[in-house]
Subunit: 364 residues, 4 copies
C-alpha cells in the first residue's frame, strides 16, 4: 500500500511538503450525502497553524479544491478528490541540511527506503503537511457519520506533565464533544489550557519542543459493528492513527492501566438502562472482540515532541558518512498536539465509516 487505505472507505493520499500540491482521493463513499464545505473548512482550520505561538508561523491557507465526486453539494458515490496547492514553500530554509539526518525525523530512513530519490524538501511526503488532506477526508467522513447521529471529538489530554480532565468514559455526550471541538485550544478545562499554553511557550522560548496525549471519543455509534481478529475497530483505528506523524502509542478504554487491575476490577458488568444494554463502567472503551458495544468508543494517542528544534544537535551526514553538528532553521511547531487533535478525529471518522460500510447487509 504505502499511502493508500483499502477498507470500507478507500483513500489515497499524495503530495510532498514543497511540491506542487497535496491531496486525497476518497473512493467508495456512499452517494447522495450532503457535504457542507464550510464545515469542512472549519474542521481543517483546526489543523492549520495558529498565530498564537503554539505552532509554526508558516502560512498555510490550505483551501482544498474539489475536483470530482461532489455534484450539486452531494457525494456522487464516485471518487471524491481534493487538492491543496502549495503556495508558501520557502524551500531554501531546508537546503543546507539535505543529507544531515534530522534526529527523530525520517530523513535517513526515507533516504534508504527510496534510494535517495524521494523529495527531501521539508520532509517531502513524510511531512506533517500530508495530514491536511487526511483531515479533509476525516471532515467528509465525519459529516456522513453525523448524518447518522454519530459524533466524534477529541481533546488534549496532556502536554508534558500538564493534564486536562479526562472524558467521562460512560457519560461523555455529543454536546461535550461539540463543545471541546469548538474551542480554539481544545481542552475541557480552561486551567489546563492556560498551563499548557505556558508549557508550550516556554518550550518555544527555550528553542525546544514538547509532546502530549490526545484523547478521542465517539458517541452514538451503533453496537454490533466491527469484526474479530484482523479487521476489528481497534485494528482499523490504530492502523489509521499511526498514519499521523509523531504518534508513538495508542490505547483503548483504560488502556495500559488495565495491566494493573484484577479481572474483577477490569470487567465491565452489563446492565439494563432504559431498556438498553449498557455497561456500568467502560474500561473496554466501547469495543469488545473488535466490535462496538454501544458504549462510547474512547482511546488515547501519544505524540512525541516535535523533532524539529532550533538547538544544535549531533547527527550524521548519511551521504558523506561523517558526523556533523546540525542547526535546524525554519519555522516549526513547538508542539504538534493542538493541531493533531483533528487528525486523530479524522482517523477515527474514517475508521468508523469504513466499519459501517463493511458491515454486511445480507444476513439471513
Amino acid at each position: 500500500m504505502s499511502s493508500s487505505y483499502n477498507g470500507g472507505i478507500k483513500f489515497s493520499l499524495f503530495g510532498e511538503s514543497h511540491g506542487k500540491g497535496i491531496g486525497v482521493v476518497l473512493d467508495n463513499l456512499p452517494s447522495g450525502i450532503s457535504i457542507d464545505l464550510n464545515k469542512v473548512g472549519e474542521f481543517m482550520a483546526r489543523r492549520a497553524p495558529k498565530k498564537d505561538g503554539t505552532s509554526t508561523t508558516r502560512n498555510e491557507k490550505d483551501i482544498p479544491e474539489i475536483l470530482s465526486g461532489l455534484y450539486e453539494g452531494k457525494t456522487t458515490g464516485t471518487p471524491l478528490s481534493a487538492v491543496i496547492f502549495n503556495s508558501d514553500q520557502q524551500s531554501g530554509d531546508y537546503g543546507n541540511i539535505a543529507h544531515i539526518a534530522r534526529p527523530a525525523h525520517a530523513d535517513y530512513t526515507g533516504y534508504l527506503r527510496y534510494n535517495g530519490a524521494n523529495d527531501p524538501r521539508g520532509g517531502g511526503h513524510f511531512s506533517g503537511r500530508i495530514t491536511a488532506p487526511l483531515c479533509f477526508a476525516g471532515a467528509v467522513c465525519g459529516q456522513i457519520l453525523e448524518a447518522r447521529g454519530i459524533t466524534t471529538g477529541a481533546h488534549i489530554r496532556s502536554i508534558k506533565g500538564v493534564s486536562d480532565e479526562a472524558f467521562d468514559p460512560v457519560n461523555i455526550s455529543a454536546e461535550q464533544l461539540e463543545l471541546v471541538k469548538s474551542r480554539s485550544f481544545p481542552t475541557l478545562s480552561e486551567t489546563a489550557e492556560t498551563q499548557m499554553r505556558e508549557v508550550i511557550n516556554n518550550a518555544r522560548m527555550a528553542q525546544d519542543s514538547v509532546g502530549g496525549i490526545v484523547e478521542c471519543a465517539a458517541v452514538g455509534f451503533p453496537a454490533g459493528i466491527g469484526s474479530p481478529m484482523l479487521d476489528g475497530l481497534e485494528n482499523i483505528i490504530s492502523q489509521l492513527v499511526f498514519a499521523i506523524p509523531a504518534v508513538k502509542g495508542i490505547e483503548f478504554g483504560n488502556g495500559f492501566e488495565c495491566a494493573e487491575l484484577f479481572g474483577s476490577e477490569n470487567n465491565d458488568e452489563f446492565s439494563l438502562k432504559d431498556g438498553k444494554i449498557v455497561t456500568k463502567t467502560n474500561n473496554h472503551g466501547g469495543i469488545l472482540g473488535g466490535i462496538s458495544s454501544g458504549m462510547p468508543i474512547i482511546f488515547r494517542v501519544a505524540f512525541k515532541a516535535t523533532p524539529s528544534i532550533s538547538q544544535p544537535q549531533k547527527s550524521v551526514d548519511f551521504k558523506a558518512m561523517t558526523e556533523e553538528e546540525l542547526i535546524i532553521k525554519g519555522r516549526h511547531d513547538p508542539c504538534v498536539v493542538p493541531r493533531a487533535v483533528p487528525c486523530v478525529e479524522s482517523a477515527l471518522n474514517i475508521a468508523l465509516l469504513s466499519a459501517l460500510l463493511e458491515y454486511p447487509s445480507l444476513e439471513g
Copy 2:
C-alpha cells in the same frame, strides 16, 4: 476482511473454539525456505496451556497438520495451510451461559454482529484458541526471518504491579532474545518470575485474574524497510497485534513516556559506530516515518486481565433482556500474559516479513 490479512504476506485464520478444527492459510510466502517443524512445534508449545497453575488445564495438544505448501521440507511458495483439530472440547461447560453476556467478552457484541448466528461455544471464533494458528503462522515467518539474520523475541514486562527488567533498547542482542524465549516463564529476571507466579497464583486462588504487559523486540532487521503513512511498520504491527484477544494498547520505543519529554530529550541523535549509522538512544523504537532505522525494533503491548473469572458477576441475558447473575464455570487462565508472549512475537514476525516482501525491488 474480518479474519484475513492482505499485506506482503496474506493469511486467513479460521475456526471456532469448539468446532471441528482451527487453522490458517498462509499465502505469498517465499518459496524454497526450509521449515523446521520441530521448532514450529516448540514455538507453539510456548502458547499451549501449562501445568504450572498459570493457565487453564484444558488439554490442547494443538499439533498442526500441514495440508499444503510444504514439499520436501521447504515452502513451495503456494499457500501453506495448517489445521489443528479440536479434541478436548467439553462444550457442556458453556451451555448454561449461552445468552448471558460474560463481562469483557465478545458474547454480546458478537451476537449483534452476526445476528445470533455465530457459534457461541467457548467464545467461538472470538476464542483465544484462534491464536494457535496465528502462532503457527508466526513461527513459520519467524524461521524465514531467522534465515536472514533477523531475531525476534518477547518477554513479560509486568504483571499487575510486578515488573521485569526492560529490554535495553540500544543493546538488546539476538542471544538475549533467544535466551528469554527458551525460558518456561519468559522474564529476564528470575526474581520477577517468582513474584509474578505468586501474583498469578494468588489471583487464581481468589477466583480472579490479572493482566500485564508484554515487551517485544527485533534485532538484525535491515534499515530502510517500511513505508510512510498507512503502511508503516507501526501501522502493520499494531493492526496485527490487535488481532490478539485482550490487547488494549500498544506503544513503540519509549511510547507514552514520550509525551513527558522535551524534544531535546526525546530526539535520538545519530552517530557513527563501526562505520554504521546508529542512534545513541532508541526512544524511537527502531522506526522513523514508518521505516526501520536499523536500531532494535521495540514495542510494548498491554493485556487486560482474563475476562473469565469464577466469581459471580452481574450481567444481562441479551436475548431475554433481563438482568442476571452469572457464574462462569469451566477452566480458564488466571493470566493470559505468559501464553500471549509468542502471540505478540507472531504478530511481529508476520509484520516484518510482510514489510520485507512489500519492499519494491525495481528501483532505478
Copy 3:
C-alpha cells in the same frame, strides 16, 4: 495475492494435487444463511470425474470436510473453511516427467516462478483439482444467491465444432437454468450431447483431447449492482474465471461479435415491460458500465483442449536444458469442458455475491 481473492467475499484456496489435502477458507459471508450440504455435494459432483468416458477415471470422492463457519446448519459469518483430503494419488505416474515440461502445462513456468521449490506432482497447486474447493465456494455462494431469488447456470455451448443451442439472452429463465444444471451432460439440446460425446470419445480413442466453450447466465440479479472502472461485474467475473485452468478467453453479451455491428444494431433499446425497465435485445449481457441492468447476465468462456495427451510430444528438460521426447502417462480428461461447467458457475456465484456485499447501504 496469488490464490486468494479479496472482494466483498474473500477466499483463500490451498492445496496441491498430490499433497495431503486441498481446500478453501471463505471469509466475510453473511451470517445466518442455511446451507444445504447435500446440495453442495450435488454441485460438486458435477465437477467430479465421470465414469462415462468423458473424463479421467481418477477416483476423486472429494467430500469436503467443513471445519468451521457453519453452526447448526447456518453460516456463522466467521470464516467458513472446508478441506478435501486427497486419497487416490498415484504420484508414481508422474515421476518420470518431473523436469520435462509438459506442453501447455505450467511445469516450466511454475518451476521458474518458485525457483524449483513447488510441488511438481500432478501439477501441484496448478492442478485442475484445486477447482474442487473453488466449486465448494461457488456452491455455498450460489445457495446464498438463491435465497435472494438469483439463479445461475451454465451449459456447454460448443465442443470442437459441435454447437449446442445458445441461451436466449432476453428470455432465459431460472427454470431453464435449473434444468440444464440437472443434466449429467449439460447441454440444452440432446442432439448436441450425442455429437459432443462422440467428438470427445473420438479424441480419447486418438489419444488426443478437445476444448470448447461454456456459456453461463444469471437471472434474477437486481439492477444497479456493480461499479464503474476497476470493480465492475465484468472485471470481477473475468478475474475469477481466469482462476480456472485452461481458460483462454471470456466475452460478455454478444462479445467479440459486437466488433462486427453498427452502433444502431448493437445498442439495446430500453422499453417498459410490466412497469419495469428492460431492453428489447441483450447484446450488453446484462451489464452496462460495470453495473447490472436487470437483464440476464450472460457470458461465454473458451477452454483449450486438455494439455495432457498420451501422444508423444517434443519438449525440453528445463533442468538439464536438453530437448526430449515426452510420453505423458496417467489418467486424463479427454475434454475438461463438461467438468468446467460448474467451475464457471462458481466464479459467477462468487462474483455476484461479492458485488452484492460490496454495494454500500448508507446512501443519503
Copy 4:
C-alpha cells in the same frame, strides 16, 4: 474498490467528464526511475481526439499537471499524482437527455447504483474521458518497463469486417511494436488503414458508429512472473482491460479459436533456441498457469460500437418511467477503437509492472 486498483501498483482514478478535473494517483511505483514527460505526452496524444474524422471534435488538450511523486525528473517512490483540468465542457449538449437512458450507456445503471446522485453530465465518471488518466498511468508504467527491456504495443486488429494483419505471435519484435505505435492510425497494413478509415467515415456519415478489435503484445517480459489462480497475468490484465469502457471480451493467445483445436494441435511444444527455452508456436499467448513463459504475451480485446449515435433511438425516461424517443446531440466518436489502442496498452503496462513488483524476492 470501485475506481482503484490494489495490486503491485496501486492506483486510484477520479473525475467526471464535465467536472473540474480528472486524474490519477499512482502508488507504490519504484523510486528513482526517470520519466520523460514529453514521451508521456506523446503517449496520451494517441488517445486524444483526432481531427481526421475518426473521432469526436471535442477539443481535449489533456495536459496532465503532475502534483507529486516526481522530483528532479525521477519517481520519488511516493504517490505520483496527475490532474487534467477539464476546460472544453459544453454541458448544455447533454442537458435535455438527463433522465432518458442512452442505449448501451450506463445512464440507467449508474442512476440506480448511485441513487440518482452521480454526475450525469457527459456520462460523469462513466465517461471514456477517464481513460485519459488511465493512459497517463499506462505511459508512466510503460517507461519503467522499457527501462528493463520490455516493450508493449497494440494495433487495430479489425474494424467491422476489415481486418489488419495479425501480430506474428512467435516473432513479433520490439521494433514492430514501436513502428505501429508511431503510426497516426495504428495498423500494420496501410491497406487496412485505408479501408478502416472508410468504414469509420461511412458510419459517421450515416450517423452511426462501429466497433472493432485491438490486438496487444509485450516482448522482452521475463519468464516466471505471475501467479496461479487469482493473481495470474490473465486475471490481472483482464481486470484492468475491463476498466476501459466499451470492452466486451478478451482472449489470450489463440483465444476462442482454441475451442476448435485438438490438444495435439493446440499444445505449444517446447524447444531450445540459442540456449533458451522457447515454444515453436504460441497459442498460449506467453502465459501458462498465469505465469509468463518468456514468449511474447499476446491478447485481443473486443470493443463495441460507440453507443452515442445521432439517429433517433427508443428509450425510457427512468425517472418518469415513460417510453421516449431519444436524439443524442453533441460530438461523438464514430469509432472508439483507434483511441482505445493506447488504453489497452496502458492496462497491459500497469498489469505487467504490477506483476513484476509482486514477484517476491526472498526465495531460499
